[in-house]
Symmetry: C2
Subunit: 410 residues, 2 copies
């Protein structure tokens, strides 16, 4: 039997950064984990993450009936509200002050690498002032770019959305042939864009070309890739990461946004605009849509998957749900086991059967760092390998089955 | 017992225009209907619709095993391939010539109002030359804009996608407040955009503003609507139809495309570009993102739902599937009952319990006509009524359940 060493006081849970389809599973898991371990204090949900902490804006979570908690868990996007604030030292001091005032001894912060850094700073400050705080970072990001994690909660469901989107769009592009570009999320890591490869169920299926931020983007090579595929197949479906960057090292989307919005505040806007897709479509049309190349009636279109991919209602990976719940529960359990802190990482034990375990790592191992896609997942700078497919498939789970008409022509 | 009066010969089935998530249900239903009625000829699937007919490019469909036919039926997008060709008289003569050469006596054309017109013209030509042809149009369009139909196959699934997309995005916008625009399909009719209203499960849920092509779009009123909602709620989620047009009567998306692509062929491009969303977002930012109005840190984003909404794998309305199958089967049955032709329309018998019947109408009743949304579905030019919600709910079927955290603040 596990022995717990709780400290008297309250707990705070916050949800930070971009929402996911399973971020409330981690919230529910954390609440359940605390209660299962006999936690007696208040469980305070911070409204809009760190903003709620410093503004003393909390929602009590310890008395939610289980059926309601289950429905909240199954609802996409941060139930507590979120924020894009990245606290500096002064902000973190105000967070700690609020914790002391409210006798908060447990802090759970569900988020990406910025959030783990907030957690780390507040934790360090608490230690320096001999205030016992058990601070835990609970991984969450559709970008799948956290160090020490095989993958992150939220990624599997977003990857499933991307796969299903490309499955449908591949069939659309097959029925009405043309060149089609889909821009997917992923500022620094190409994991989510690469998940489009799951749409390929037969040899002729797209996406036929896949571009990720890990590979320097060259517009001339891109045009020649598209020309080659279209000339061979009479159609071309392309997955492009919003974060692709050219030789300058600067993301193309940012360069386009700067051209358009000179008067803005330097907020780097990748998503929420169709600019990157429209630019690529226009360039293809200009360079290939001539009589000498592919003909002036060349049909080129671009869609930007946008915000929908991170919380589409009803498109969720069951494994992702389970793991997100579990990671919250385990953070809570660990926090009750003694005066410790850290981040809970998912470690893969085996591919078949798919098995993972959860491991405590140091906050500094994950804080403010970014994991990129391994090079073995990338082929020729414009395609994704079977090794990646093997990696991602169990995280996404079963996909709709596609059946094509392949009977002989008359 | 029903008596059939078949005519010896073969059947052609084609799928035309933009694909849907259930267009292959109608294909399967039509094949099943013919075989169930004892049809003895060949069932020829026209590859890429009318293109395959004139090019003698067919796929035989009469021997597909039932389990495979079921999987094809469940696969989104036209299994036979599609086309955007709109045949003129000369083209239609070539279609009829192909029919005569292949002894085709049954013609089933799955498509929208353009397709029903092709069906009508070929049918008229056959009659004029005393060639017995039993020509049937099988309704299909996500736009839901066919006359004499309560609704059309394909619409329910696309509406479900739009509803789920807005449900997720409403929660996203709730968690990270700002102004968010989503552009949905619908060139002339606002039915699909209006389906975004289903995302509202609680009084504060978005979309807070909905703009359809049936209402003349005025950019000044739009800005004031957004200003009002954002000032009241601190956030604003907006659904905009790609087909909105201003006082000039010309769609804004077309006006923008003309500005950008002066060198193109006059093809009216609504989808496959983020231009309309980006223009609206930019205008909001310019007019409201000032210190005097909503502040210079105003967060405005736009996504364009694009092609994904018409065939997303795994997001389908069960009712839509059933009706699409049934309408194909009934067209086949009717064609076997005598020398008749027409289009099969869905007529609603009751809302609760939801019941429909299928009725043969004349091809000329539906051909080349467009149904608009009734005015009773539109409120104040920027919202959708409960009457519409009552109309659309049974067609879409059950949606994911959303549970919000509404416990009292501490």
């Amino acid at each position: 039997m596990v022995k717990y060493y709780p400290i008297e006081g309250n707990a705070v849970i916050g949800q930070s950064g971009g929402p996911t389809a399973v971020i409330n599973q981690s919230l529910a898991g954390c609440v359940e984990g605390l209660l299962e371990c006999g936690f007696k204090g208040k469980i305070l949900g911070a409204h809009n993450a760190v903003r709620g902490i410093v503004a003393n804006d909390f929602i009590e979570l310890q008395n939610i009936p289980q059926d309601r908690l289950n429905r909240i868990a199954a609802t996409p996007s941060a139930a507590l509200g979120s924020t894009r604030d990245k606290p500096n030292e002064e902000y973190c001091e105000r967070i700690l002050k609020s914790f002391k005032k409210n006798n908060v001894r447990y802090f759970f912060y569900i988020g990406g690498n910025d959030s783990s850094d907030t957690c780390r700073i507040v934790n360090k400050m608490a230690k320096e002032t001999n205030y016992e705080l058990r601070a835990f970072h609970i991984s969450k990001t559709i970008d799948n770019d956290l160090m020490c994690n095989d993958h992150t909660p939220g990624f599997g469901s977003a990857a499933k959305y991307v796969a299903c989107a490309f499955m449908g769009d591949n069939l659309d592009n097959r029925a009405l042939a043309g060149i089609k570009i889909n821009i997917t999320m992923g500022r620094n890591a190409g994991f989510l864009t690469a998940a489009s490869v799951l749409a390929r169920q037969s040899p002729t299926d797209g996406p036929h070309l896949i571009y990720v931020p890990e590979v320097e983007f060259n517009i001339d090579k891109f045009i020649e890739d598209v020309n080659r595929v279209y000339s061979e197949r009479g159609r071309c479906l392309i997955a492009v990461s919003e974060g692709i960057r050219d030789a300058s090292g600067k993301a193309i989307a940012i360069q386009l946004a700067e051209k358009v919005e000179k008067d803005e505040h330097g907020n780097e806007q990748y998503s929420g605009s169709g600019a990157l897709g429209d630019y690529l479509a226009k360039t293809i049309k200009e360079r290939l849509g001539t009589e000498e190349r592919l003909g002036t009636d060349l049909r080129v279109r671009a869609d930007t998957l946008g915000y929908l991919q991170r919380g589409f209602a009803g498109c969720v990976s069951k494994i992702d749900q389970t793991e997100a719940r579990e990671i919250g529960r385990i953070a809570a359990q660990m926090s009750m086991s003694g005066n410790i802190d850290g981040s809970i990482a998912i470690v893969r034990i085996s591919d078949v059967p798919y098995r993972v375990e959860y491991k405590r790592i140091e906050l500094s191992d994950v804080a403010a760092k970014t994991k990129k896609m391994p090079q073995e997942y990338i082929i020729d700078g414009c395609n994704i390998s079977d090794a990646y497919k093997k990696y991602v498939s169990p995280i996404v789970g079963p996909l709709p089955v596609i059946e094509l008409l392949r009977t002989h022509r008359v």
